[in-house]
Symmetry: C2
Subunit: 331 residues, 2 copies
DNA sequence: CTGTTAGCGCTTTCAT
DNA sequence: ATGAAAGCGCTAACAG
């Protein structure tokens, strides 16, 4: 009963316009139910008084908030900002507000955030969720949920298939005459890593190329740089890295070792988060994160107004983006 | 009167526990007003029933939402994600939810977002706001407002002084024996650019160095790369770039031109958004965006519980971060 | 087409 | 220490 009461209320407008409160409400939400005259008069009075509908009261009454929550493991991971941005822009078209949550890669934190948000949103989008399948199902039972890059049966999800682009990259390398390559792996627990590793292996085998895998615990610039000696020792002429950051590290390592790219060695990254901002510009695999963000929001809207929709599984194919770090196999 | 009614309400808990609704409310918000026994019993019953306080109803009644909004010009600009992240983590400590808005660099969009958010937040944080002073004052009159990197008298603000770090960078260069340098400028309309440009000029003059300025309309990797011929023609032995992206482009351009960094030429970036992910790792100026995000939120909290606070002007100094792209002046 | 009347779920005086 | 009751501002039957 305290708190800042800063607004003109519907009652004041009603009194000033000489109508019932419900009419004022209708003037804003269902103007077709009122005579045009009345609507105009009410709107004029409202304008004059500086009336602004109270979002909270409306939400309490209707159960509709016009909010969604988007939770990501790490806002600062360059993969997410474009996704966040596009989800946001799409939300804007629907006049929705978006809460952003940072789970800090921790399931517990993510769980907490979902709880904090769920009372004031229509639905949630979980990107690369760290939650267990059980928790996801539990939350999905309470609120519409859309997943990005997480494949849980029964929950609507948008999946980015980096495998398709990686396969293209391998084919691209094969065409350039490379016969032996190495895949520099990312975190073994990662869905994306498994996907990429498998794609490299499968398409390389199909094209008669040799593949070796070099593991790196964390996908970092340093890890990529450190992998260079092993890569050179492998005898391969090209490398596909788990992500762009590692590829960038590899580029640096090669440069240090005096190996020219792409003349003597070819490098392919993954996720296209660097733009063309390396020298030479990095050949990589597109990420589709922009589409994923947009699609996730749209899907959530669909789920919202037809709660029958469940278990949608929307796969986004990726492609190789050929730039300057891949060239004909040496010799 | 429709909408999803998915919750156990306070009334149900009250009945099940054999107490008044107000007691249930107090058990959650003012347990000290009740006997410990009662509190325990109520909490147990609530737990058992799966009661969760309705955020919206509470907000309507108290006028307190526990939400803040953070608006940035572009989520995908690498300067902002760390800031967003830290503001978020700080908000988390206070159990606040944060709305994120992307103004897309447009004042009109920003204005719209502020309007959309302001009904359901305690206050707002505007980072690098594109709004006019008038609009900012107008909004600040309705809701507590904190600005980041925008200096408007009468409004609490956090300013990142990149000038201090740039001056350090120039001193660092002078110590290395450089006598002539060029500043590759960013957008002329930018507050930061003016700040940095002036710092370079001032400290260079003080140290007896020559400075030339090369302008670039947009701060991009390409712009940096394109500036290389002009930089080389200038006869300078070091360059300070408006931001890291341009510095990275300059690095690429130098590499293409066969100029070795830092042996033959020194390069300093600004904002430290690349981490050490270039080769050689870039010497740059710290950005303090993490502190800015955190400080902005804290300041907002301060403003909230002591509305007397206004016109706080909190300046964050920056520093040069010496890495691998600066070395002794050649010859 | 418009007014009357219940709520939505919670907090907060005011009593007791 | 606890209960009763009056809202917070808006929406949505239900009447007319």
């Amino acid at each position: 009963m305290t708190g800042r009461r800063d607004g003109v209320t519907i009652s004041q407008v009603a009194k000033a316009a000489g109508v019932a409160r419900s009419s004022v409400s209708r003037a804003f939400t269902r103007p077709d139910m009122l005579s045009q005259q009345t609507v105009e008069r009410i709107l004029a009075v409202a304008e004059e008084l500086g009336y602004v509908p109270n979002h909270t009261a409306r939400a309490l009454s209707t159960g509709r908030h016009g909010n969604v929550a988007l939770i990501v493991p790490d806002v600062a991971n360059p993969f997410f900002p474009p996704l966040i941005r596009s989800a946001q822009m799409e939300a804007d078209r629907f006049d929705f507000c978006v809460f952003l949550g940072n789970s800090d890669e921790k399931a517990k934190q993510e769980d907490k955030l979902v709880g904090r948000f769920s009372g004031q949103v229509e639905g949630l989008i979980l990107a690369s969720s760290r939650l267990s399948d059980e928790r996801i199902h539990a939350h999905a039972a309470l609120r519409p949920l859309v997943l990005i890059n997480r494949d849980v049966a029964g929950i609507s999800r948008i999946l980015i298939d980096s495998g398709s682009g990686v396969s293209e990259a391998v084919a691209h390398l094969a065409e350039l005459g490379h016969r032996s390559l190495v895949y520099v792996a990312g975190p073994s627990s990662s869905w994306s890593n498994a996907q990429r590793r498998m794609a490299v292996r499968k398409s390389a085998t199909a094209l008669g190329l040799e593949v070796q895998t070099i593991a790196a615990a964390v996908p970092s610039f340093q890890a990529g740089r450190n992998a260079v000696p092993a890569i050179r020792a492998s005898g391969a002429t090209a490398v596909v890295a788990f992500d762009d950051l590692m590829a960038q590290g590899i580029l640096a390592g090669m440069s240090e070792a005096g190996v020219r790219v792409p003349e003597e060695f070819s490098v392919v990254g993954c996720d296209d988060v660097l733009g063309a901002a390396t020298y030479p510009p990095l050949t990589t695999v597109s990420n589709r994160s922009v589409e994923a963000g947009k699609a996730a929001f749209s899907l959530l809207m669909d789920v919202l107004d037809s709660s029958a929709i469940r278990d949608v599984r929307y796969m986004l194919e990726t492609h190789v983006v050929v730039r300057g770090t891949t060239g004909p196999a040496p010799r």
